[in-house]
């Protein structure tokens, strides 16, 4: 590697750019955390030192704004989506990658085309479909359309590419059924990829906005993003309590990411290649 003069102008500028970008990136998080301790007016003004209102904000968020309900809704929906999603998408990726056939490749091609399809294009027919099935305002309405994800199938396919087919061949020679090959040999060694996919799907569903906005009609079904959006439309916004909700909404994803950083990046690495 090259040796750089420690305090050359280039070096200084470089550090400046990096630090400024890092600071700008992190600041709203600090502000959001700090906001949970301030009263509404101070949150608006942007006071940077902590105040003493955390307890009252927390109480307001959990009683007036019913935070536990929204959290539970979001969690339940995200977990169910991930559970079904990983299984179904992984199976599909496996099928598309390791069982190549002209027909299946064509099907995959069609699936790929929908990657650029904006979500807004299908929300109207989807809304009418769920309305017809009397499934509006249910968790099923939010979960079902999110289970299959072409992006995840694509991502997992890239990872399955790296799995040596020879091992499968060897197992076949030994007389193992295809299903047992999938379950007992392939799946265990793909755990890291599945974990990445699971994290990605969890985060996507946890933060999902447009479709829940359309299907959720009653307060009791609201997820965190919808709840926050509603609060912004309310008569008076209790900013302190709002900050508590924002933090609760962001922390799980943050923790998930921090603990799973390696898998996440490894997964990205695989898909890019």
């Amino acid at each position: 590697m090259t040796v750089v003069n420690k305090w050359s102008p280039g070096h200084v500028i470089m550090w400046l750019v990096l630090l400024v970008c890092a600071a700008v990136s992190v600041f709203p998080f600090y502000w959001m955390l700090n906001g949970t301790t301030l009263n509404p007016n101070d949150v608006l003004r942007g006071l940077l030192v902590p105040g003493g209102d955390f307890v009252s904000n927390w109480r307001q968020a959990t009683t007036t704004y019913n935070l536990p309900l929204f959290f539970t809704n979001s969690l339940l929906i995200a977990l169910i989506t991930v559970l079904f999603g990983v299984v179904i998408n992984a199976m599909a990726a496996f099928g598309f990658e390791k069982y190549r056939s002209r027909a299946r490749d064509r099907v995959f091609g069609i699936l790929l085309l929908t990657l650029i399809l904006p979500q807004i294009a299908i929300v109207v027919p989807l809304f009418r479909l769920f309305s017809f099935l009397h499934l509006l305002n249910t968790r099923a309405a939010i979960v079902l359309p999110s289970i299959m994800s072409v992006f995840i199938i694509f991502f997992l396919r890239q990872n399955f590419k790296l799995f040596p087919t020879e091992i499968m061949e060897a197992a076949r020679v030994d007389g193992a059924s295809e299903l047992s090959i999938l379950v007992r040999i392939v799946a265990p060694s793909m755990r890291a990829s599945f974990a990445s996919a699971a994290i990605y799907m969890f985060i996507a569903q946890w933060n999902s906005y447009l479709w829940p906005l359309i299907t959720i009609l009653k307060d009791t079904m609201k997820t965190l993003p919808i709840a926050m959006s509603s609060i912004m439309n309310a008569y008076t916004i209790q900013y302190g309590a709002l900050m508590v909700i924002v933090c609760v909404s962001t922390l799980p994803v943050l923790i998930l990411f921090l603990t799973m950083q390696k898998q996440f990046v490894a997964g990205l690495l695989g898909s890019v290649k």
Binding site: R45, M91, G95, L117
Partner: protein, 298 residues
């Protein structure tokens, strides 16, 4: 490799078995809506009834200034935000990868952090920070950088800047990680050779790094462009439903409002979404051609 006949059929069946559930979900929740949208596109919806109007929805679109303005806003955001963000992400990735040695992990984490937030959270945070009497204005005023508060949320120009700022804040780190991954797979010998030849860092950046990273830049560009075409969360929450006075209205938001807020005219909303899809398709195609054509064989 595989024997013909019964075994081959068994394997093939298993392949379909694996793929079937996802294809089922796809058919019900993706293919069916797409197909049934054809029904909506030629109808005008009012309340519980609808009438067939042929291409009337498209005629209406041609006269709909608000929709056209919304599309223009999408383009403005795209043309300004995407290049800035990609350049910034690339620059940060290079600086982190080749410029510094200490604190790499911490800085990378810091810059990536915004990507864990939901777009709703971004909108909420920025909306509160950018109020007329909010934090940013207070800082600028006390630093004597401006003499009167900037209407970040209620001025036609600044509202657009606000949206661009929010998107850039949210996505730069995300794209930066992709570039970092790509950079790490580059052969350092090329850079060493260039260094020996006397090429400056800047020159190396433009003539070596960028061309080699074109596949990732393409990926970033396509996804970011597709993202700006679908922009809905931010204009809805951050700038109060496309405000002020529709100055940050985007196509997706207008479609949503036509379908679920103002008129419940599903027909018109579907017709507009067709236009959005076609535009997205064309943009993706153009980008693939422009940038994909230069790719070296993988």
């Amino acid at each position: 490799m595989v024997q013909r006949g019964a075994y081959e059929r068994y394997v093939n069946r298993f392949g379909w078995f694996c793929v079937a559930p996802s294809v089922l979900f796809f058919s019900v929740f993706m293919a069916y809506p797409i197909l049934s949208s054809l029904y909506y596109v030629t109808r005008r919806w009012k309340g519980m009834s609808n009438t067939f109007i042929g291409l009337g929805n498209f005629v209406r679109m041609a006269r709909d200034n608000v929709f056209q303005a919304a599309l223009t806003h999408n383009f403005i955001f795209m043309i300004i935000q995407v290049p800035i963000m990609i350049f910034l992400a690339l620059l940060l990735a290079v600086l982190l990868n080749q410029g510094i040695r200490r604190f790499r992990g911490a800085l990378r984490l810091a810059i990536f952090l915004p990507s864990v937030t939901s777009l709703v959270v971004v909108s909420v945070l920025f909306r509160v920070l950018l109020q007329t009497n909010g934090f940013l204005n207070n800082v600028l005023l006390s630093g004597h950088l401006i003499s009167s508060p900037i209407g970040w949320l209620n001025d036609a120009f600044w509202a657009k800047v606000t949206i661009i700022m929010a998107i850039t804040w949210r996505w730069t780190g995300y794209n930066m990680v992709f570039f970092l991954v790509g950079l790490q797979s580059l052969d350092t010998q090329i850079f060493e050779a260039a260094e020996v030849d006397g090429a400056s860092k800047v020159r190396q950046f433009f003539t070596i790094t960028v061309p080699l990273l074109v596949p990732i830049i393409l990926f970033s560009a396509v996804t970011s462009t597709s993202g700006t075409m679908q922009l809905i969360d931010e204009p809805n929450i951050l700038t109060f439903q496309g405000g002020p006075a529709n100055e940050t209205m985007t196509a997706a938001l207008y479609i949503y409002r036509q379908a679920f807020y103002v008129n419940f005219d599903f027909g018109y909303a579907t017709a507009m979404s067709y236009v959005v899809v076609i535009i997205s398709g064309i943009l993706a195609f153009i980008q693939l051609r422009l940038l994909g054509g230069e790719r070296s064989a993988k």
